[in-house]
């Protein structure tokens, strides 16, 4: 929001000081919220701090982190991808059919297959938006329904259940050859890849440039259409990966797999400080955002809130987190600019 501040006010801000360091560290608000929430929950139920519970939370948010990072890249370009849940569901279903049909093939093959499939679905979104010029919210709202519809068409409404799957397939996410479940490893790999992509690659830089000032990006010779197309394709690709992992983890592919998941991914991004109007957002923030969502889900059960109230409580906590975050940020900014004068 620097752009809206009067020039003179921000022109000469000296470096240094705790306030300044904290302002630069965008994620301070959400961390504060996580700490407070964790403390309160621990007071009610000390089990919250156990290692088992922690692993449980991490396992539960692994897929969310992967897709939320995809969503974040899209949001940075001023877009939104509402079709992520449907893309996950469709790839989960198609890949599951594949592993059931060819039980002899190595389960690892499901990964490239799912990602390729997802990339195709994402590319369709990208074409509609970047070439067709349809607003992202409309385009992906359309493909949300179309892709979900294809799941029914493809499966004829039938589910694929655990007993049909070859035994190696669930191991894809649950195996622990390196000591921790593969699912968490996949999430870590995606985190590292996206971090490096956004921070240290040309195309990653383009994404931020296009999102924060499309005109200046165009004048600098950046191809806007390509950049926009690319984020939707990547979003599809990561959803494909998530779809395979989802089917493997829950040992099932259903017509309602990942139904409504898009809202969680948007929530994780926004709670993590990604600007919904584009231009800014960090990988660390999104991880924290997803982590906070995971803690909220987990703790609502731990402190025994009635299931009837859980959804409302979840929404309330998300709103609270965003408000606390922006309040802290604003306070710190004011604090540090006051010190200048």
């Amino acid at each position: 929001m620097i752009t809206q501040e009067p020039e003179a006010k921000v022109a000469r801000r000296p470096q240094g000081g705790l306030g300044q360091t904290l302002v630069k560290f965008r994620e301070v608000g959400i961390i504060a919220f996580i700490v407070v929430l964790a403390t309160l929950v621990t007071l009610r139920n000390p089990n919250f701090l156990s290692l088992d519970n922690f692993q449980d939370i991490v396992l539960n948010i692994s897929i969310l982190v992967i897709v939320a990072l995809a969503q974040t890249m899209v949001i940075i370009t001023r877009g939104i991808d509402l079709s992520v849940g449907s893309m996950i569901g469709l790839t989960a279903m198609m890949v599951s059919y594949f592993v059931v049909a060819f039980p002899g093939l190595p389960p690892l093959l499901a990964l490239p297959l799912g990602m390729a499939l997802g990339a195709v679905l994402g590319s369709i979104n990208g074409l509609i938006i970047a070439v067709g010029g349809v607003p992202p919210i409309i385009a992906t709202l359309g493909t949300l329904s179309i892709y979900r519809g294809l799941i029914f068409f493809y499966s004829q409404g039938k589910w694929i259940n655990a007993f049909e799957m070859p035994s190696g397939f669930p191991e894809l996410s649950k195996g622990t050859p390196l000591g921790i479940p593969n699912l968490i490893l996949f999430a870590l790999l995606v985190i590292i890849a996206v971090y490096y992509f956004l921070r240290f690659s040309r195309r990653g830089r383009d994404i931020y440039a296009v999102g924060s000032n499309p005109d200046a990006a165009r004048f600098a010779g950046i191809r806007i259409q390509q950049t926009v197309f690319r984020v939707y394709m990547i979003s599809g690709l990561l959803c494909g990966l998530a779809g395979v992992l989802w089917a493997s983890r829950f040992e099932a592919a259903q017509t309602n797999t990942a139904l409504g998941f898009e809202l969680q991914t948007v929530a994780a991004s926004v709670v993590g400080g990604v600007n919904i109007f584009g231009g800014s957002g960090s990988v660390l923030g999104v991880i924290l955002g997803a982590f906070l969502l995971g803690i909220i889900n987990n703790s609502l059960t731990l402190v025994q809130i009635s299931p009837f109230w859980q959804l409302a409580a979840q929404g309330l906590l998300i709103l609270l987190a965003v408000i606390v975050d922006s309040t802290i940020l604003r306070r710190l900014q004011r604090f540090s600019s006051r010190k200048d004068r």
Partner: protein
Amino acid sequence: MTDKPAVIQVQHVSKSFGGVQALKDVNFEIFPGEVHALLGENGAGKSTLIKIITGVQQPDRGQLFLDGQPTHFTSPREAQTQGIAAIYQEPSLFPDLDIAENILVGRQPAGRWGVNWKQMYQEAGALLKLLGLSLDPRTKARELSVAQQQLVEIARALSINAKVLIMDEPTSSLTQGEVDELFTIVRQLRATGTAIVFISHRLEELFSLADRVTILRDGSFIDTRPMADVTTEELIRMMVGRSLDQLFPKQTVPVGKVVLEVEHLGVEGSFSDLSFELRQGEIVGMAGLIGAGRTNLARALFGTEPATTGTIKLDGKVVTIKNPQTALALGIGYVPEDRKEHGLVLAMSIAENVTLPVLAKFATLGWLNVKGERQTASEASRQLEVKMTGVAQKAGQLSGGNQQKVVLAKWLGTKPRVLILDEPTRGIDVGTKAAVHHLMSSLAAEGMAILMISSELPEVLGMSDRILVMRGGRLTGHFSRAEATPEKLMAAATTA
């Protein structure tokens, strides 16, 4: 005229924006039944004066009088209720509302169940008739021509019983026939005692319409004269007459071979049939008023608004420039007029901005060498003396002058052979201005060909080897450095 008190009197008004003095001790008065022309170059302070009269901005010093009483408008709404209405170059109607709704917006006659539509259409119809317009008040605003939209705005002004009507370049997008129609209505309004402030750059128009004229220059009041007593030459002299000593003149360097040739270039709706050439080591100034098509020309050369007719030759070879990527590859750089909109990504760091057009140079297989990037950006910023805490500082935190230096560093990094500068020193302080001029001069000395678009005559006169003037999308003047005078340039920019 002087027997009645002035409707609006502005006394000793000053206003500055962040160190830039927009108005200095300006006096201005307007009487009922008068058409008063306000004249001055771009940036002379006309708009600021208008904004103070209409309550959009408040003066730093000085006093406003309404009908002889000291007054103080804190908002445009307050000025409106006092009978001050303004019409701008671009009509500001609600396109999806009809004429009647637009005229009476916010003041719709109330009926028992909300708006009394019948009364509303009657009132609007009566106003249209008063203006001699045969428009159906139920027509949607988006279906009207620009001229018709302006007339609807005049009807809106009438409906609030405007005592003062301010018209800011109302004729700039009208045809001659429409202008005549508008003038008839303006004269009618004058006859009924409305005071009209009329801004236009077309001097011939002012002679046929205005009673008096006030000239502003560099934010200062120059003179108010009866229109019948002044000549075109006098007006131009009053508008431009200022000393050129504050400038950093270009050093003379031998001019090399032709780099860029433009032949009969045109973009539909912006400019047409433009031909000129640009040589190595040469700075060609492009003068003209805002809206003359100069920026469109720059964009055609840079590929953001590709040309629709004519040819562009680079080193004698015909090139097609369809997008900025091509322009960059051909060695054409463009420093756009609006730093914040087109020049910089404010949320990004200085380093990221500087390397944006040349990112490929810092990438191996798509992965960036961030260290090398920072180094290059540091060197470029140091060379241009950008005042910053470091290249990691966000561009949005810099002052205007320093932002402009970053934009320059950015485009110089592309090593252009042809550099187009669009208003390179607008809104920056004198020191930075001199630094930019110095830089331009040394770039030309190194053999770069520079096209400088500028609305500031002293800058054009001081920095250019040759000067082109555009007016209404056409080239209307071509002067060598020796033959150019402010008066000649202004005449080419304002009169047919």
